[in-house]
């Protein structure tokens, strides 16, 4: 259940045209042109998220080369605010959806598991621009986080066991306290007058 108002779609469409230079589709280099984005350490992940079929609500997989306006809006819709009157079930669903988005940003090869390599990669990128932490540190931190995850989600492991990586279920459990449904919100999607549900 996605609720985005016509007005918001209008706003987004304007932006879409602006980004794509009045073309019908957006490509990666269009995103690379955004100035403010240049400072973002995880720019690559964000941009990929827009070209990731998993985020299009169609149970697709893999990457696309260009996206149309519809996909653009669908990806953006992950950041809509929750409506005021939601049942617990809906809340849970929204939560899953939003966390899924984050999860997909980590899980680049789409095997449903964030492996150590994948996680390291993200953390390295994430900490790369802070300028204060070296690469080695980032790696250590990623490893430490992974270890911690393993100890939380599996508990005791036999020596020969191997923790493959974070599954989505673990991810959900680990971020239980993370109030994503009230935080993964962008203001522009908040102007709900007439809503379009799809």
């Amino acid at each position: 259940m996605q609720c985005i108002s016509f007005e918001q779609i209008g706003v987004l469409h304007k932006r879409f045209k602006q980004l794509s230079h009045n073309e019908e589709t957006l490509r990666r280099d269009h995103f690379n042109e955004i100035d403010d984005l240049a400072f973002n350490p995880i720019r690559a992940q964000i941009i990929e998220a827009f070209f990731d079929r998993r985020n299009f609500h169609q149970n697709g997989e893999g990457k696309v080369q260009e996206i149309g306006f519809e996909e653009f809006v669908v990806v953006m819709s992950h950041f809509r605010p929750p409506s005021a009157h939601m049942t617990e079930e809906q809340r849970g669903k929204t939560r899953r959806e939003k966390l899924r988005f984050l999860f997909n940003m980590h899980d680049t090869d789409n095997d449903g598991i964030i492996t150590l390599e994948e996680y390291r990669h993200v953390v390295e990128e994430l900490l790369s621009r802070s300028g204060t932490l070296e690469k080695e540190t980032a790696k250590c931190i990623a490893d430490a986080a992974m270890l911690e995850v393993a100890s939380i989600s599996v508990g005791h492991m036999e020596p020969d066991e191997f923790y493959e990586g974070i599954t989505f279920e673990h991810f959900l459990k680990l971020l239980e306290r993370f109030e994503i449904e009230s935080r993964m919100i962008i203001r522009f999607l908040n102007m709900d007058t007439t809503t379009l549900c799809k």
Partner: protein, 850 residues
């Protein structure tokens, strides 16, 4: 037993505090006991004493000079009494869980006041505005500002400001006007109070008191947003109230007829000037503190003093410029917290935190007790049922109306609206406290005839809100099912995800072309990181300020602690049992192991030994050495570098040297150190050997592909090694303690990844235990090595020392016990070859890390 220990500790601390407080308050008391001192009499008695002493011929061996010490003595005594009261109250947890401490302290004050009243027939002690505003309030507010969760505060700044400014004005105006209206309507008889006086009264009643709010809310763990709304509002509106109060006070002095539009506009302008000017003064002082702590490396011992002194000065400066002192000290604390925490030595940071809490808590206690004592005074009790009850009613009702109305407006702009129950709690959390009382006492009796009535009403409102609302707050929060704060600790993954998430939000805002909250925040952060930090922070400190890094640090620390605890749990006895186990070595890689000799710092080397705790000789294991590559080494050093600052360091023994400026680590008295090290080493070794005996093979196989090398320690041999070490190396013991780096941490983190969290910690020491194969042979000898005299004396005690030294280990700053094993190893080899022990390699140290 435990509680008794705490009690003693508290007592000690309070006594210490008294010393400080009494010196600070020396002056204050003159005002506090102004009525009591009877200066003429005391000077007279001084004279008589003087005369008396000149009369006697000899030198009096002892003389009783009460008046000489009276003032500071009384202050100290009162502080002591308040603290003892708190001590007693805190000892009864089942009571404080129902009734908040602040309420109990006020009641304690009642009792004390009653006793004084009974003795003196007049209330000789009461809270005077000077004492309160100059000596009690600043530290409470400074503490609040210093511990303010900045991000949360600024995220909700809009809401807080609306409530603090508009809400307070609304409360003041509505209360004043309604009371005036009621008087006009004849509800409270004949009172000589004009409209302006009512507004003045309204303004002093309007402030929600931070002291009371913290006291109540810290026991009810409501969610963060709600807490910051109430708390932030209470802090800021104090400033606002004081400003309002001053403006109205000026109006009252001016007199009704003289007030025209120009004066009112001037009043409004002064309101803003006072509020923003105060904040500005605070910011300036905050930056000053940050700058100062940048260069206090050489005077760490008085480093914490700067924060207190400058904080207090910011308060006084603002007061001097007749700006808002409270706002000034709040912003001073908020502004400097980040930089001073990064700049100062960890010890100083702890000191500041502790001292801040001690001061704040101490004055809070005194404030509440004196609020109670002040009530027992016949002079101020002027009863006017109408006035008092109406005030109570209006205070409560208008608070509700104001909060609901303002939140309604705010919710239209908030992404996450404040819920209904939150609003109820916000309204109900409008506790009045000592600020209102302090202001009421400050009223000028000449201008306001009914001052006593106002004071008395203020007191009743304070008691009502603090005691009644305080008690009912917790049940109400439960009953309304207000979202509570998550009390769990934050995991590293959460921190990382959080960080990533924030970047994502910014990116989405960028992509959608919005200038929103996140956009602003990221721009600020960029500015802050590139300019503010650069100016205000030590270069070396910038690295450590990262939040993620912080958690990483915490995690490392925790790991280390658990590791040692575990070691201790298994340790000492294993050690004893291991004595008679049989050791068998398969020397597969002697040649490689020799490499270790070159005092290689990085322990990535493989050395192989088999272990067997059981008499059956033994699992023999393949070892996987890796010749160290330069790159790898550099990497490892890098990591060590980072880690060595955070690892477990044992408490250092402080030499009792009579130096005020240096708090030296004991490097001469080797004995303590030596015993400690030896026991630690024992513990670690036996621990590892015990662990390894259980499941070595699988792990080793596991790690074949890893860069990390598995070393199979030999418990027995290490025990021997260390024995001989301590014998030979008695004098080297201290130098060893100088090294607090841990190599295996780094490699463990870097290489082992997520293999098996439960198992990993056990692997750590392996890296350190590089036992050259020849050790196996030399071992028998080494156990026979003639021990130094001291070692002979000490050794037998070792097992019992383990227990005795156990508490030492808990301290977070302690010489890294893991790495202690490091040094002995290399030295061991040398000593085996009958070489004099070379000075162990000095690892590169981070210069900034002090």
């Amino acid at each position: 037993m435990l509680r008794c220990g705490y009690a003693l500790f508290w007592l000690l601390e309070s006594v210490l505090l008294i010393c400080v407080v009494s010196s600070v308050k020396g002056e204050a008391v003159v005002t506090r006991e102004g009525s009591h001192l009877k200066l003429s009499e005391s000077s007279h008695s001084n004279e008589s004493q003087h005369g008396h002493s000149s009369n006697i011929t000899g030198i009096p061996i002892i003389s009783f000079k009460w008046h000489h010490v009276e003032t500071p003595y009384l202050v100290a005594f009162w502080v002591l009494v308040s603290f003892l009261g708190k001590l007693v109250i805190e000892a009864n947890h089942h009571v404080t869980s129902v009734i908040p401490e602040s309420a109990l302290l006020i009641c304690f004050g009642f009792i004390l006041g009653g006793m004084i009243w009974a003795a003196d027939k007049v209330q000789t002690f009461r809270l005077t505005p000077t004492v309160f505003f100059f000596y009690l309030l600043p530290q409470v507010i400074l503490d609040a500002g210093y511990h303010m969760p900045n991000k949360l505060f600024f995220t909700n700044l809009g809401g807080i400001l609306v409530h603090a400014v508009i809400g307070t004005c609304w409360n003041a105006a509505s209360l004043g006007l309604s009371l005036w209206g009621c008087q006009m309507g004849g509800a409270m008889g004949d009172l000589d109070i004009g409209l302006l006086q009512y507004l003045l009264f309204g303004s002093l009643m309007a402030a929600v008191d931070p002291v009371a709010v913290i006291a109540v809310f810290e026991q009810v763990h409501v969610n963060d947003v709600l807490f910051i709304m109430v708390f932030g509002e209470s802090l800021l509106n104090d400033g606002v109230t004081v400003v309002l109060f001053n403006v109205f006070d000026a109006f009252v002095s001016l007199g009704g007829p003289k007030i025209d539009a120009a004066e009112i506009i001037k009043g409004i302008v002064s309101f803003f000037v006072v509020a923003f000017g105060g904040s500005l003064v605070g910011l300036v002082f905050g930056l000053l503190i940050s700058l100062l702590t940048r260069c206090t490396k050489n005077i760490q011992i008085i480093e914490p003093g700067f924060i207190f002194v400058l904080g207090y000065l910011s308060y006084l400066t603002a007061e001097m410029l007749s700006l808002s002192a409270i706002l000034s000290i709040v912003f001073c604390g908020m502004c400097c917290q980040k930089y001073i925490n990064a700049n100062m030595d960890e010890n100083s940071v702890q000191t500041v935190r502790y001292a801040m809490k001690a001061f704040a808590n101490g004055s809070e206690t005194i404030i509440f007790v004196f609020l109670g004592i002040s009530a027992i005074d016949k002079v101020i009790w002027v009863w006017n049922t109408g006035f008092i009850l109406l005030t109570l009613l209006f205070v409560l009702v208008y608070r509700f109306i104001g909060v609901f109305f303002l939140t309604w407006i705010l919710n239209r702009y908030r992404l996450v609206p404040l819920e209904f129950v939150d609003q109820v709690i916000m309204s109900y959390g409008g506790l009045r406290g000592a600020v209102a009382y302090g202001l009421a006492v400050m009223l000028d009796e000449n201008k306001i005839k009914e001052k006593n009535l106002m004071v008395c009403t203020t007191l009743i409102v304070v008691y009502f809100t603090v005691i009644l609302q305080g008690i009912t707050m917790k049940p109400l929060v439960m009953w309304l099912k207000v979202k509570r704060a998550a009390v769990t600790e934050v995991s590293l993954l959460e921190k990382l995800t959080n960080k990533m998430f924030n970047h994502t939000l910014v990116a989405i805002e960028d992509i959608s072309g919005q200038i929103g909250h996140n956009y602003m925040r990221s721009k600020w952060k960029y500015f802050e990181e590139n300019w503010m930090s650069w100016i205000l922070m030590k270069p070396s400190a910038r690295k450590k300020q990262d939040q993620v890094f912080d958690v990483f640090h915490q995690l490392n620390l925790k790991d280390a602690m658990e590791y040692v605890t575990e070691g201790e749990r298994r340790g000492s006895l294993e050690f004893v049992r291991n004595e008679n186990s049989i050791i068998d070595f398969k020397k597969k890689s002697e040649s490689e192991s020799f490499d270790i000799n070159n005092t290689n710092m990085s322990n990535d080397h493989g050395a192989m030994s088999t272990t067997s705790r059981d008499p059956i000789p033994s699992v023999s294991l393949e070892m996987h050495e890796q010749i160290m590559k330069a790159v790898r080494e550099a990497e490892a050093i890098n990591a060590h570098h980072l880690l060595d600052q955070h690892l477990y360091k044992s408490r250092k023994q402080h030499r009792h040297r009579f130096s005020r400026s240096h708090f030296d680590i004991n490097r001469d008295e080797k004995e303590v150190q030596e015993i400690f090290q030896r026991t630690m080493r024992n513990r670690m070794k036996s621990f590892t050997s015990a662990k390894m005996g259980v499941k070595p093979p699988k792990t080793i196989v596991k790690h074949t592909q890893k860069e990390q090398q598995q070393k199979m320690p030999n418990g027995k041999s290490m025990d021997k090694a260390k024995t001989s070490y301590s014998g030979d190396e008695g004098s080297e013991g201290d130098s060893a303690s100088g090294y607090d780096q841990s190599y295996m941490r780094a490699t463990y983190r870097a290489g082992a990844g997520i293999e098996n969290p439960a198992f990993m910690p056990d692997l750590d020491p392996m890296d350190l235990l590089q036992i050259p194969p020849w050790l196996g042979e030399s071992e028998l000898d080494s156990s026979m090595v003639a021990l130094s005299h001291r070692a002979q004396v000490d050794l037998p005690r070792t097992p019992s020392n383990l227990r005795r030294l156990a508490p030492l280990r808990i301290s977070t700053r302690s010489t890294d016990s893991f790495t202690l094993e490091n040094i002995p190893d290399t030295q061991q080899m040398d000593s085996d070859q009958l070489q004099p022990p070379p000075p162990p390699p000095r690892p590169p140290r981070d210069d900034g890390y002090v």
